[in-house]
């Protein structure tokens, strides 16, 4: 809910995959989990205060295309269901550059960001160092 208004797009199913570009500074080897994962810092609203940008995987092309022009980046996946279970709403926000662009609207507490970071999978693995 945002100002009492439901914005969430029900045509985006809970199992829909949402892609998020992860810059090199935002992934690392987690020695506790024994794998490379994104930092919670990768799951913030945009710098201008806009909601967190994602790409709807089902409506996008190959995952590598989402990283064109972003050398060294990886591509993380969270599901719409995970975002919704954390009180977020998913809304389509197509742009000229990315028709499959969407935004994840809602307060992102540290615990929510941490959950996204730990439950994210990789659509495109981080490149070898």
């Amino acid at each position: 809910m945002l100002d009492g208004q439901t914005l969430d797009d029900p045509s985006i199913p809970d199992d829909a995959e949402l892609w998020r570009r992860i810059p090199p500074w935002h992934f690392y080897f987690d020695g506790k989990l024994g794998r490379i994962r994104p930092s919670k810092a990768a799951f913030e609203d945009d710098g201008d205060g806009s909601p967190m940008s994602v790409i709807l995987a089902a409506e996008a092309g190959q995952p590598e295309r989402a990283l064109e022009g972003h050398e060294g980046y990886a591509l993380a996946v969270i599901t719409a269901g995970l975002a919704r279970s954390c009180g977020q709403q998913i809304v389509r926000d197509p742009t000229a550059e990315e028709p499959a662009h969407a935004v994840v609207i809602g307060l992102k507490t540290d615990s929510i960001k941490r959950r996204f970071a730990r439950e994210a999978r990789w659509a495109v693995l981080p490149p070898d160092p």
Binding site: W25, K32, A41, D46, G47
Partner: protein, 141 residues
């Protein structure tokens, strides 16, 4: 005129702990210096450049709080120009994020002890961070 984006000389000049800088100091200093060179929108989502004052805050906190045998932190710049220091090892998650030049947000979870702590701390009130880093260092030894 551009603003200098580097750490103050007194911090760059390695402080000494019994005559020898701890292993974490050099790599952490280099990571902070590299983070300070990031441009606007370095993450493609509109991130701000790292605030030099917040980088200094993070480094001063480590110098004051980290034991000499502390594991090296992962240095993570944040969307708003802050610094997040992270450790994930030996059953422990520790995250310390600069909220301002005198404030930090801290998350600590120790799987083995079943202990979790989260809250904001200010400069001069770093005792919990010292305790967490001491536990982490002892376990990593």
């Amino acid at each position: 005129m551009s603003v200098p984006r580097s750490l103050p000389a007194e911090l760059v000049a390695s402080p000494t702990w019994n005559g020898q800088a701890p292993a974490w100091f050099g790599p952490t200093l280099r990571s902070l210096q590299e983070a300070l060179q990031l441009p606007q929108n370095w993450n493609s989502y509109g991130a701000r450049p790292v605030d030099p004052d917040l980088a200094v805050t993070a480094l001063k906190l480590l110098i004051k709080s980290a034991p000499s045998d502390a594991p090296q932190p992962i240095v993570v710049p944040t969307m708003q120009g802050g610094i997040l220091l992270e450790w994930h090892m030996q059953g422990i998650d520790l995250e310390v994020e600069t909220l301002g030049v005198e404030r930090f947000h801290v998350f600590y979870a120790d799987e083995r002890e079943g202990r979790e702590w989260e809250g904001d701390l200010t400069v001069g009130d770093e005792a919990p961070i010292v305790e967490f880093l001491t536990t982490l260092s002892r376990r990593a030894a």
